[in-house]
Amino acid sequence: MITLGDYLVVSAVLFTIGFAGVMLRRNLIIILMSLELMLNAANLSLVAFSRFRVGVNGLPEYNAEVFVFFVITVAAAEVAVGLALLVALYRARQTTDVADITSLKF
């Protein structure tokens, strides 16, 4: 029997992998992918909560699922903007390595 705790563990593992990727990797594309991973980890836990919490009339609680759709939409928009920025940045600098992008440093 798979319990809520199992889902949350998987979600936490995914989130940690994503966070570690954002923190440690140097390639912007990988960082973006790690971000997506973190978002999806959050989505997973939301869906799990939805599934395991019973609302009125024995139906699942749908609020969390609606929230997941929002997250997916925002993530899609974010990827579109993020990739566009990335392409523009590459055209300007010929690099996707975050270590080379230090113009905002004092």
Binding site: F19, V22, M23, L24, I31, V98, A99, I101, T102, S103, L104, K105, F106
Partner: protein
């Protein structure tokens, strides 16, 4: 009998001032005619009102804030105000006529007559005011007209400065006056004289408070009547045209302070301390001004210091709770001092605006009418019987003798000095040999100037006989003694002056302390300089160290410092930003959930 005459006294000069200012500035003769007509209307109505003692005037409410503040616009028509109105409009009318001659060739004649009319309006307003607010407004208005008229020849720096000095100095007194009015209103809830008098009990026997209120009211009189220590403006005010000096700075406006004290005597007399201070201020002014007058060279300044001295006598009488004596001296003084000023003006204008007495001399033959009238005024001023000044000064001295011996002695000394400096002036100006070309070639003034002189001389000579009509409270034991010693002192002073100055062409005794007016101007200059310097330094300190360094500089340095710290975080490492961002989120969650 309710009638409109009393209002007409006020409105005629006001209408004249308005019409001249708005329409007839360009037509000088028309302006003069309007102004003189207005003052004559005032004078006639004043006489009518004086004759019909049962007259009352309609009154309307000007400001009304129901239970706490009500200011009617009404006229007090008692014996005091009706007589004073006749005096003011009468002397005013003579001086208007005299001005026709004196200001004949002046460019700003219309402006001058407009200001003169406005002054008549304001002065009569003071006389008739039946409440403090109305009194105060007219009080300020006479101050303003005085300013305008002193500065009539504003293109002369001395005149412009004197006008400012007069306005600012009196303002100091007026500030105290206003505070006093507010305190009275706060305590009794009324500003109307007739309502305050029965409510004096509401002060509840707080003697110190009553004394403070009385002295604050007195402050107004100190400023306006140029008493010590605010006397410095009056001698400088002599920069104005001579008729103005006669009307405003001798006969009427400066006497307004004394009139006001008599009008609100019930407040002053509620406190013995206040009365004593008032009496001593008057005494100090009387003696000090007389001392200064003995060493001045400018004919108008001598008269100005003499005015100060005589005002001191009046205030002294008020302080000894003898309003009748004060008002009596005010009346006689108004006539003889206006006369002296106008006669001096006649001398000045005939000598082509020469004011130094050492450049005159021997004028009794060249200006006989001026000489005779001036002599009449001078004899009245020194209190020579039977001229008017004798009776009024005697009344004051008798009161002094009865109530306060030190003041009596000082007042006698003042009378001695008065006799001395008046005789000195008379001898130097009208006797001896002429000491300048203009003095040798001068001619008598035109009738438009001499007729007012003659009329005033008649009043100055005979005005004293009103003494017998006036029922002064009988002075015990002083009846014979005081006049005798007074005449002795008078002969002494006059004799000394004649002996000292007969045949002299220059000042034989020079006392620098008196010539420099006890260094009052220098002292005030120093005081104001250092007060201002001190305040400026404090202000500069606050500006430099608190506002500039603290508020403005502090903001800038604070922002800069915070920025300097914060930019250490700007490492340019994307992951570091993300890490800090994560920390921030965790902190927010901590705050939101755990706390």
């Amino acid at each position: 009998m309710n009638s409109f005459y009393p209002w007409l006294i006020l409105l005629a000069p006001f209408a004249s001032a308005t019409v001249i200012t708005l329409f007839t500035l360009r037509w000088k003769s028309l302006s003069c005619a309007i102004s003189i007509t207005a003052v004559l209307i005032s004078f006639c109505c004043s006489c009518l009102v004086l004759a019909q003692s049962a007259t009352t005037a309609p009154e309307f409410v000007w400001l009304d804030v129901p239970p706490i503040f009500r200011v009617p616009f009404g006229l007090t028509l008692d014996q005091l105000s009706r007589t004073m109105a006749v005096l003011v409009s009468g002397v005013g009318a003579l001086i208007h006529i005299y001005s026709l001659g004196y200001m004949r060739d002046d460019e700003g004649k219309s402006r001058y007559f407009a200001a003169l009319s406005l002054f008549m309006f304001a002065m009569l307003g003071i006389v008739f005011a039946n409440n403090f607010v109305m009194l105060f407004i007219f009080w300020e208005l006479v101050g303003f007209t005085s300013y305008v008229l002193i500065g009539h020849w504003f293109f002369r720096d001395a005149a412009a400065d004197a006008a400012n000095k007069a306005f600012i100095t009196t303002r100091i007194g007026d500030f105290g006056f206003m505070t006093g009015i507010l305190m009275i209103w706060m305590t009794t809830g009324s500003v109307v004289f007739a309502e305050i008098a029965p409510r004096m009990a509401m002060f509840g026997g707080h003697t110190t408070f009553v004394a403070i209120v009385a002295l604050l009211i007195f402050c107004g009189a100190v400023g306006k009547s140029a008493q010590f220590p605010l006397h410095v403006w009056l001698p400088d005010a002599m920069e104005g045209p001579t008729p103005v000096s006669a009307l405003i700075h001798a006969a009427t406006m400066v006497a307004a302070g004394v009139y006001m004290l008599v009008r609100v005597a019930f407040i002053i007399q509620a406190s013995q301390t206040a009365l004593l201070i008032v009496a001593w201020i008057g005494t100090i002014t009387a003696v000090m001004a007389a001392l200064i007058a003995t060493q001045q060279d400018d004919i108008k300044r001598i008269l100005a210091y003499s005015t100060l001295s005589q005002l001191g006598y009046m205030v002294m009488a008020v302080g000894l709770a003898s309003n009748e004596a004060a008002m009596f001296h005010l009346f006689t003084h108004a006539f003889f001092k206006a006369l002296l000023f106008l006669a001096a003006g006649s001398v000045i204008v005939m000598l082509h605006h020469e004011q130094n007495i050492w450049n005159m001399g021997g004028l009794r033959r060249r200006l006989p009418i001026t000489f005779v009238t001036f002599a009449a005024g001078a004899l009245a001023l020194i209190g020579c019987p039977p001229f008017s000044g004798f009776f009024s000064k005697d009344a004051i001295l008798a009161v002094d003798y009865e109530h306060n011996l030190p003041i009596f002695v000082l007042a006698l000394f003042g009378a001695f000095l008065t006799a001395f400096y008046v005789m000195r002036m008379l001898v130097i100006v009208f006797f001896n040999n002429p000491r300048s070309d203009s003095a040798r070639e001068s001619r008598e003034s035109p009738p438009v100037m001499t007729i007012p002189l003659i009329v005033l001389a008649i009043f100055a000579t005979l005005g004293g006989f009103a003494f017998f009509a006036l029922k002064l409270p009988a002075e015990k034991g002083a009846v014979l003694f005081v006049p005798v010693i007074e005449i002795a002192v008078l002969i002494l002073g006059a004799g000394l002056a004649i002996r000292l100055y007969r045949g002299r062409a220059t000042e034989p005794v020079k006392i620098e302390l008196l010539r420099r007016k006890f260094y009052f101007d220098e002292f005030y200059g120093w005081l104001i300089y250092w007060t201002q310097e001190f305040l400026a330094r404090v202000a500069a300190f606050i500006d430099r160290w608190i506002i500039d360094a603290g508020a403005v500089g502090g903001t800038s340095r604070g922002t800069w410092g915070i920025g300097a710290v914060l930019r250490l975080i700007q490492v340019g490492n994307l992951q570091a930003y993300a890490f800090l961002f994560g920390l921030g989120v965790i902190a927010l969650i901590y705050i939101a959930v755990i706390r």
